[in-house]
Symmetry: C2
Subunit: 208 residues, 2 copies
C-alpha cells in the first residue's frame, strides 16, 4: 500500500522561470511557473493566495490514511483554484505539467471584495462553480463500471478543454486516482473505448 507513496517522486522545487507583476484594480497579480510535478501548495498550509492557471494543468488531491491518493479536481487553462473560505488549504496542489499560474493575494482580494459588490459576487459565483464541480464528482460512485467512469472523465475533459482535439496532460495514474480506479483498469477501459471506435488514437495520445 505504501509502495504507492514511496515510489512517488520527491516534490520538485519551484522553477523561478517566469516572474511578472502587474497592478489591476488594486489587486496584485504575480505569475509563477512550476515544473512538472512541483507542489504549488500543500494540504493544511495557510491559504495566502488564490490561483489561476495561465498555462498547463494542476491537480488538487488529498492523501488518504492508507496511502491512497484521491484527486479532487484537475484545473486547466483559465481555471481558478485554491479558493476556499477557510484559513488553510484543504487539498494539495501540484503541477501536472510545466505550469504557469497567476497568484492573487487573498487579503488584497478580500479588501476589494468588501468594497466592490461586483467582485464579491464574482467570488461567490466562483465558489459556487467549485461546489458544482464537487457535486458532479460526487455522482461518480453511481457510475458503476470502469468504462462508464473513464468515458465520463473524457467527456468532462472534452467539454472543458473545448478545443478541437483534446489533450490529456495527466498520467493514467492521475486519472485512476481521480476516478477511484487503478491505472491498469483505466488503461483497459481506454483500450476498450478504442476498439468501440469511440476514441481516435490522436485524441488520447496527447497530440500536444
Amino acid at each position: 500500500m505504501f509502495a504507492r507513496v514511496a515510489d512517488r517522486r520527491k516534490p520538485n522545487t519551484i522553477d523561478d522561470i517566469g516572474f511578472a507583476s502587474a497592478s489591476h484594480q488594486t489587486v496584485n497579480l504575480v505569475e509563477f511557473t512550476y515544473r512538472k510535478g512541483a507542489e504549488i501548495y500543500g494540504e493544511n498550509e495557510p491559504a495566502e493566495h488564490i490561483y489561476q492557471v495561465k498555462r498547463g494543468a494542476v491537480r488538487t488531491y488529498k492523501m488518504l490514511s492508507d496511502g491512497r491518493r484521491q484527486i479532487g479536481a484537475f484545473h486547466l487553462m483559465g481555471d481558478i483554484f485554491g479558493l476556499n473560505n477557510g484559513e488553510r488549504h484543504r487539498f494539495t496542489a501540484e503541477a501536472v505539467v510545466k505550469t504557469t499560474v497567476r497568484l492573487i493575494e487573498r487579503k488584497s482580494l478580500q479588501t476589494v471584495a468588501e468594497a466592490d459588490a461586483v467582485v464579491a459576487r464574482n467570488l461567490f459565483s466562483m465558489l459556487t462553480s467549485n461546489l458544482e464541480h464537487a457535486e458532479d464528482h460526487m455522482l461518480l460512485p453511481g457510475r458503476k463500471t470502469s468504462v462508464e467512469r473513464v468515458a465520463a472523465f473524457l467527456s468532462e475533459m472534452d467539454r472543458r478543454a473545448g478545443a478541437n482535439t483534446m489533450s490529456l496532460p495527466m498520467s493514467r495514474r492521475d486519472i485512476a486516482d481521480y476516478l477511484g480506479l487503478t491505472l491498469e483498469t483505466v488503461s483497459r477501459a481506454l483500450s476498450r473505448l478504442h476498439w468501440a471506435g469511440v476514441l481516435t488514437l490522436s485524441s488520447v495520445k496527447k497530440p500536444i
Copy 2:
C-alpha cells in the same frame, strides 16, 4: 435497470399539518411538514426558497440516466439545504421520514444579505460548508472496501447527530445510494461491523 425506478413510490403529496409564520429580521419564515417520502423540491425546479430542517431528515439526490439514484447528502436537524447560487435546484429533495422544514424566501434573504454584511458572510460560510461536505464525499471512491465506506458513513452520522445514541432514519437503500453500493452489500457490511463489536444493536436498529 429501470425496475429500480418503476418500483419506487410515486411522490406523496404535501402534508399541510404544520403551518406557522414569523417575522425575523425582515426575512419571512414559514414552516412546512412533509410526510415520509414526500418530495420537497425537484431537480431543475426554480429555486425560490432555501430550507432548514426543523425535525426529521432529508435526502437530496440525482437520478442517473440508467435509473440509478445517487444521494448527494442527508440533511439532519438544523441543517440548511437547497442553497445554491443558480436559479434552479441541482438536486431533488425528499423527506426521509416525516419532516418539518423552515422555508426562507430566496429573494428576501438576498435583499437582507446585500444590506447586511454579516448575513452575507453567513451565506458565504454556509456555501463553504456545503462545499466541504461535497469535497469529503468526493473522497469516497478512495475508500475501497464496503466495510470502510459504511463505517465512514456511520462515523459521519455519529458526528453530525451528536446525540447519545444515533438514529438512522434512512433505509439500507438510501445508505447504498449514498455510498455507491447495493443495499445487500450495506446490509452485509453492517452485519460484519456488528460481529466485530463496533456496533451495538440499539445503535443501528432505530432506537426511536
